[in-house]
C-alpha cells in the first residue's frame, strides 16, 4: 500500500458517483466486509462520499455510477464524469434502466410534483428518468436492486486484472435449477418473473418460496408476452390468474423502463 512513489505499482483509482437513487447499490461496496481490506489494498478510493469526505481529483481508472438521470444538471455532471473515467460501470436498476422513478416517464410529471411537494415551484426536473447508457457510453452494467456484491467484486477483480468481466445475461431459472430451488411458478402457482429476468442475484426470492420480482431486469431475448399470457390465465389453465393491473405492476417496478418490461406492462390494465 505504498503511496510514496516507490516501485510499488500504482493502484487503480476508483470513484463512486450517485445520481437519482437510494444509495443502496454503492453501499453494497461497503457491505463487502470480508473483502473490504483487499479491495482497499487493490484500488485507491479516490471519490466515494458514502465512505469518506476526502476526495482525489480525476481522472479515474474505474467509475461506479449509481442512479438515473432526472435533471439537466445531473446530465452535465454525468458527461464530466464520463470524460474523467477510463472505465465506467453502471451499478443497479436506476443506473441501468432508470429505476422505479422511471414510472414518471409514463405519467404526468407535474401531477407527481404537485402530489409530493409543498412548494412545487421549487422543483426543477426532467419529465423522464433515464439510464446512464442513454447519455454516455457505458463499459459494464451491473443489474439489480440492489446489485449483488459478488458480481461487484467479480467486476472489480476482472478490471484490476485486465480480464473481461463475465456476467450472465440468461434467465433466473438457470440459477434456480443449478441451486436445486423448486420452481415456485410450477409447484405453487406463484407469479414469477424469473423466466424473463437476468440471473445474478443468487435466486434470492425463489429460494425462500416467493416469485422473482425482476429487480435484475430483462434477460436477453425474453418472451415477456408469453409469460404474461400464462400469468393471466386462470389456475385451470396452469396460470396464476393475475388481472391486468396486477400484471402491469409485476412488470412496472424497479425496471419499469427496461425494454421488454416497459412494453409488456403497458399492454395490461
Amino acid at each position: 500500500m505504498s503511496t510514496d512513489g516507490s516501485d510499488a505499482p500504482r493502484r487503480p483509482k476508483l470513484a463512486v458517483w450517485k445520481f437519482a437513487s437510494c444509495d443502496g447499490c454503492q453501499l453494497s461496496l461497503l457491505d463487502c466486509e470480508d473483502e473490504l481490506l483487499d479491495v482497499v489494498g487493490a484500488v485507491e478510493i479516490a471519490y466515494f462520499l458514502e465512505a469518506t469526505r476526502a476526495t482525489v481529483p480525476g481522472p479515474y481508472d474505474v467509475s461506479l455510477v449509481e442512479g438515473s438521470i432526472t435533471t439537466a444538471h445531473d446530465l452535465k455532471r454525468l458527461q464530466k464524469i464520463r470524460r474523467q473515467s477510463k472505465v465506467l460501470v453502471t451499478i443497479g436498476a436506476c443506473a441501468t434502466s432508470g429505476g422505479i422513478q422511471a414510472l414518471k416517464s409514463m405519467a404526468d410529471t407535474e401531477d407527481y410534483i404537485r402530489a409530493v411537494y409543498a412548494r412545487p415551484d421549487f422543483i426543477k426536473t426532467l419529465d423522464t428518468s433515464t439510464p446512464i447508457a442513454h447519455h454516455v457510453p457505458v463499459d459494464v452494467e451491473l443489474r439489480g436492486c440492489p446489485i449483488d456484491r459478488g458480481q461487484l467484486l467479480h467486476v472489480l477483480t476482472a478490471l484490476i486484472q485486465g480480464r473481461q468481466p463475465r456476467l450472465p445475461n440468461y434467465s433466473q431459472c438457470v440459477e434456480c435449477k443449478r441451486a436445486g430451488t423448486v420452481c415456485v411458478m410450477v409447484a405453487k402457482g406463484e407469479p414469477c418473473l424469473g423466466p424473463v429476468t437476468q440471473a445474478g442475484c443468487g435466486n434470492l426470492c425463489p429460494r425462500v418460496g416467493r416469485g422473482c420480482y425482476g429487480c435484475f431486469g430483462p434477460a436477453e431475448g425474453v418472451n415477456t408476452r408469453a409469460l404474461a399470457g400464462h400469468l393471466r390465465a386462470g389456475p385451470a389453465q396452469g396460470g396464476s390468474g393475475l388481472d391486468g393491473p396486477a400484471t402491469r405492476h409485476l412488470f412496472h417496478t424497479f425496471n419499469a423502463n427496461a425494454p421488454g418490461f416497459r412494453e409488456e406492462g403497458q399492454r395490461h390494465g
Binding site: Y170, C173, K177, V186, C192, V222, N223
Partner: protein, 414 residues
C-alpha cells in the same frame, strides 16, 4: 479407473437372482447397514412443496404417504395417510446433480510470494453414497450419462464423473404411480425396474396398513446388502402383484413419443412449427436443466483481487441461452425457435448418432417444469402431423446422420 464406473451396475454374475421380501423393518435395517458402512444415503424427501432428492438421515425422511400431481407446467404435492413411501412419480430433480454437479471446480492455481505456482485439481470425490429410490427412467438416465462421461473411450470422458458413479450404490424402485407427464413406457425405460443397471431393484407393495419391499440384487454389492438385512423369500402372490403393478403403471401413462421421433425431427429442420414454439417458449432453460440427461456445461475462470489465485469452474449451462452458441461476432442461435429446435433435435434425433441411444428417457420433467407447460410429446406430434413448409428433406449437411455404426474418436478412418 477404467471399467470401474460400472462396478456396481449391470452385473448379475454371482448375484443372488431371487426375489426377496423386506418389511418396513427390513427397509430400516437396509438404511442402517448403508449408514454404518459410511454411505451418505440420498433419496426422495419433501421440501418446498415438492419431492426432491437430498441426503436422508433415516427412512422417516422418505415421503411416506405423499402423492404428487404432475402435468404440463404443473406440480402439486398432497399429503396422504397411506404407508407407501414411493407413491410419487419422478422427483423434481434427476440424479445428474450428484454425478455431474451443477458447479464443480476443475482446478485452482496459486502463486506464492516467490512467484511459484501450485495447482490443485478437481474437488475430491464425495464419500461413498447410496442413491435410494432411483426411478427406472432415472436409472436409464444414469446409463445415458455413463455413455457420455464414464466410457473411457468417449470424447467427453470425465474421470471425476466416473469416480462419483463408481462410488454410488444404486437402489432402484419401480414406479407404481406414474404422473400424467410420464412416458417411460413408450421409451422402454420403465415403469418397472429391470434386473440390470441397479445394485438392488425394489418394488413397493402396499399390504393393508403396511408397505413391503420386494428386492432383487443386480450386483454382488447389492446381494451383500440384501444378505445383511432381514428378509423372506417372495411368495407367488408377491410375484403376481409385482407384475400387476408394472402393467397398471404402464397402462396409466397418457403421453408417448412415437418410435419415429428421430426421423420426424431430422426431417423438420425447416418447419413452420418452430415459429409457433418460439411464440410460447420463454427460452428460460428450465427444460434442459430439469432433464436428467442434459449434460451441457460451461467453463468459467475467476481470480482473487490480488491475482494470486485463479480458479476454473464448470457450471451447468443450457442450449437455450444466447451465450451457449456465442462465437466470435455473435450467437449462432439468436432465435428462440432455433434454440428449441436445437434442443429437441439433439435430444431425440442426433443424440442417436452421437451416443447410440435417444437422449430422452421419458421422465417428463421437461413437461412438468416448463413454466408455461410446453410439452415435448405434443411438439413432436405437431411436427409429425404438419408437413414442413419447405425443404422436406433438409440439405445433407444439416441432416443428422443416423445410419452406420457408432464411431468413436479414436476409431481409424473408415
Amino acid at each position: 479407473m477404467t471399467g470401474e464406473a460400472h462396478q456396481h451396475s449391470g452385473m448379475t454374475n454371482g448375484a443372488a437372482p431371487g426375489l426377496v421380501c423386506l418389511t418396513d423393518d427390513g427397509l430400516a435395517a437396509l438404511f442402517a447397514v448403508l449408514r454404518e458402512a459410511g454411505c451418505e444415503v440420498i433419496g426422495p424427501t419433501v421440501r418446498d412443496g415438492a419431492i426432491v432428492l437430498a441426503p436422508l438421515t433415516s427412512v422417516d425422511d422418505l415421503p411416506r404417504g405423499w402423492r404428487d400431481r404432475q402435468d404440463a407446467g404443473h406440480y402439486r404435492l398432497a399429503p396422504g395417510t397411506g404407508p407407501a413411501r414411493f407413491a410419487h412419480a419422478v422427483p423434481a430433480q434427476g440424479w445428474k446433480r450428484f454425478v455431474h454437479p451443477p458447479e464443480a471446480r476443475l482446478w485452482t492455481a496459486r502463486r506464492d510470494s516467490d512467484g511459484d505456482l501450485s495447482i490443485e485439481g478437481p474437488e475430491a470425490p464425495p464419500a461413498p453414497r447410496a442413491f435410494l429410490g432411483v426411478r427406472p427412467c432415472d436409472l436409464a438416465a444414469l446409463g445415458v450419462l455413463d455413455g457420455v462421461f464414464a466410457d473411457p473411450g468417449a470424447a467427453h470422458h470425465d474421470p471425476a464423473y466416473a469416480l462419483r458413479r463408481r462410488d454410488a450404490l444404486v437402489i432402484a424402485v419401480s414406479c407404481g404411480k406414474p404422473a400424467a407427464s410420464c412416458f417411460c413406457a413408450a421409451m422402454g425405460t420403465g415403469p418397472a425396474a429391470g434386473d440390470t443397471g441397479a445394485d438392488v431393484a425394489l418394488t413397493e407393495l402396499v399390504e393393508g396398513d403396511r408397505a413391503v419391499y420386494l428386492a432383487r440384487a443386480g450386483s454382488p454389492a447389492g446381494a451383500a446388502l440384501l444378505e445383511a438385512v432381514p428378509h423372506t423369500p417372495a411368495t407367488d402372490d408377491h410375484h403376481t402383484a409385482r407384475r400387476a403393478q408394472a402393467d397398471a403403471a404402464a397402462a396409466a401413462q397418457v403421453r408417448a413419443l412415437p418410435e419415429a421421433a428421430s426421423r420426424i425431427l431430422a426431417d423438420a429442420t425447416e418447419h413452420a412449427h418452430w415459429a409457433d414454439v418460439a411464440a410460447r417458449c420463454l427460452a428460460c432453460g428450465s427444460c434442459t436443466l430439469s432433464c436428467p440427461t442434459c449434460f451441457c456445461a460451461t467453463v468459467e475462470d475467476s481470480t482473487s483481487l490480488d491475482g494470486a489465485t485463479a480458479t476454473r469452474t464448470r457450471r451447468w449451462s443450457s442450449c437455450f441461452t444466447e451465450v451457449f452458441s456465442y462465437i466470435h461476432g455473435g450467437a449462432v442461435r439468436e432465435e428462440r425457435g432455433a434454440r428449441y429446435r436445437q434442443w429437441i433435435t439433439h435430444k431425440l434425433s442426433s443424440w442417436h448418432a452421437q451416443f447410440g441411444t435417444s437422449g430422452c428417457v421419458g421422465c417428463g420433467r421437461c413437461i412438468t417444469w416448463c413454466p408455461v407447460g410446453i410439452d415435448i410429446t405434443a411438439e413432436v406430434a405437431a411436427l409429425a402431423a404438419d408437413r414442413p413448409i419447405r425443404n422436406r428433406r433438409a440439405p445433407a449437411r444439416l441432416r443428422p446422420q443416423h445410419t452406420g455404426p457408432r464411431r468413436r474418436k479414436d476409431d481409424p478412418p473408415a
